[in-house]
């Protein structure tokens, strides 16, 4: 039971971070389908940092450095979307899709090259981080608390305050609803959209490292992040682009995702004797059903996905 709670909270943290990232990007008017790729890049940054940190670094420093590396790489990678979508008015869905493919391919090529350079026989795309990973965990009884859970909570509160209580957040949202109107009162739409995409890169990158450290202590980069970026988008839509609702949605989805990891621990679930594939499918099925019921009265930002053109009426 505690194990279920633990997995639920950590997966919910991932989904919440990434969905909040998507939320910022979409509120500024840019659809970010590329979250999946951003997650992979963030995960790569964090994993590399963990791999190359010398032993004996204090836990606090490990946490800070790993988080920093993930955020940095996530933000850098999200620039690909920002430049294409904001300056060059590219099709955001296409660019996002390309970023997802590129993220996994680039990470795989890079990690494989690194592994083969170290050892010619090692052609895998795996990075191990057993030791440094311990820095993130604190045992409270049998519950394994992960600092990332706290980080996700902080991100939630900060996002809420930023979006609704600061001048920056309100201006950002105006750019996603009616950029022409925002521009007419002196808001720089391009700059706001850059900010939105970069914040999504930051949170997406962070979500990536949380995801790959969630259950395992090594990661095969060929697998990418198994559709988690898209799951986060579903959480965001289900959460109606509002941070508080996104948190609830993330908990719900996190629960079903966690069930897949720990269902063998429950006698009645084990007794049903369902194939493991059913539990693997569950989060995706639930999100489809949920989306089918909630998308009708969708409150998406009005101008999302439309490149901003100053001269347009």
């Amino acid at each position: 039971m505690i194990l279920l709670l633990q997995y639920m909270l950590i997966f919910a943290s991932v989904l919440m971070l990434v969905a909040l990232g998507g939320c910022f990007s979409e509120h500024s008017g840019v659809i970010n389908i590329g979250l999946e790729g951003i997650m992979v890049m963030g995960a790569l940054g964090g994993a590399l940092m963990m791999k190359f940190l010398p032993a004996g670094v204090p836990a606090v420093a490990i946490i800070l450095l790993v988080v920093l590396a993930s955020i940095l790489l996530g933000m850098l990678y999200s620039l690909l979307l920002a430049v294409a979508a904001i300056n060059f008015k590219a099709d955001q869905t296409l660019v996002g899709t390309a970023m997802n493919l590129l993220g996994t391919a680039a990470a795989t090529v890079f990690v494989k090259a690194m592994n083969t350079a170290e050892d010619v026989d090692n052609v895998s795309s795996i990075i191990q981080y057993i030791g440094p990973k311990r820095a993130f965990l604190v045992n409270i009884g049998s519950f394994e608390f992960n600092w990332f859970m706290l980080l996700a909570l902080i991100a939630l509160v900060v996002s809420y305050v930023t979006l609704y209580k600061t001048r920056f957040g309100l201006r950002l949202m105006a750019c996603g609803e009616h950029p022409q109107a925002a521009d007419s009162v002196g808001i720089n739409v391009y700059r706001m959209r850059y900010a939105g995409v970069l914040i999504s890169g930051m949170l997406g990158g962070l979500g990536g490292i949380v995801y790959i450290t969630a259950g395992v202590s090594e990661w095969k980069f060929e697998n990418g992040v198994a559709g988690f970026g898209f799951l986060a988008l579903a959480v965001m839509i289900f959460g109606q682009w509002k941070p508080s609702r996104i948190a609830l949605a993330a908990l719900l989805f996190g629960f079903f995702r966690a069930l897949g990891n720990v269902y063998t621990g429950f006698d009645f679930l084990k007794a049903m004797n369902l194939p493991a594939a059913v539990y693997n499918m569950l989060p995706y099925i639930i999100s489809l059903v949920v989306l089918a019921f909630t998308s009708k009265k969708s409150r998406a930002p009005k101008a999302e996905g439309i490149p901003y053109d100053k001269g347009q009426r």
């Binding site: 390309a98 494989k112 693997n280 489809l288």
Partner: protein
Amino acid sequence: MKQQKTSLLRNNAVQTLLASLLCILLGLLIGYIALLLINPAGASEAITTIIKNFMTYSKPATQLKNLGNTLVKTAPLLMCSLSVLFAYKAGLFNIGAAGQYVVGAGAGLYCALAWQLPWYLCLLASILAGAALGAVSGLLKAYCNVNEVISCIMLNWISLYAVNTLLNLVKEETSPYTLNLLNTSPGSALPSLGLGALFSGNKYVTIAIPLSVLVAVAVWVLLEKTKLGYELKATGCNKFAAQYCGMQEKKNTILTMAIAGGLAGMGAALLFLTGFEQWQCTQSSVPGMGFNGIAAAFLGGLNPLGTILSSYFIQHITNGGAYVDKTMYSAQISDFISALIIYLCGFVLFFKFTLNRWLDRRDEKRTKAAQADPQKGGMAE
């Protein structure tokens, strides 16, 4: 002479071709730089290996046989890119081609291996399975307003796990792969009609290849020359206007996705019913074929006939990637290059816009120069 050149550059097809070639060149260039960064020693050799693909073999017969192998995999890729293209023309982004391809493979292979049905029934099963999955996305879009990109992604994963479970029933006992098609059910394999002999006896070369080209032509005819195609495109441009004109926009959305799904499902049949590949039942990620289809569709300038060429190109470099020196580089370098190409395709619109503006300016200057006394007439060039 110059007047003629201007009109040629203004031609949309020429612009598309130029843009695509530019994407390819830039993609290869960045790929080359990546190779240089990884290991400067073998970079030039690796990039030429990728571009040469089967031509790395010296014997013509082996070359021909490997050209056959590339073509065998081009057929499903072409179908997937047609699927993406068809949906895109009707305003839908079918990222679910991958999932529709997966269920197509599942249905086709199950019919072939479990029931030993003849090939045309297996093919039909694949098409129907893909179409059904596409229709689900279409239904969700039309009636529940679910963004097709999200629903397609969810369905991709659901179908992967479902098909893995299904095909687990017909797998080899000692390996995670499905039974060998040619041994288990030769009647389910696509007929070769002597095409294999043309490629040094490559037994995997079947009617799949000409069939996929025929479908490309059919898609072009459907989109450009029929009422249905016109309606679908109109719905894509503006569904409210289409509705106002009396078109049933909901029906059109569902139909579009069903046809797109059928195309992708058929693509899977065209590969797996040749016996060229066996399905791996422990597969943990959705096959890249559907995603590469997106690359091919956009690289082909969203024209069914253009995609024939672009599909071949993408498959050519993907196969070429398998030949690079594994002690230095990984085969994924070609995935990397094709992903770069898709990304660059996002800039095509901007490229055309800039090109047209440049042409406009040049013409304007020229007319001005012709009207007034040409003092600075030469500046345009």
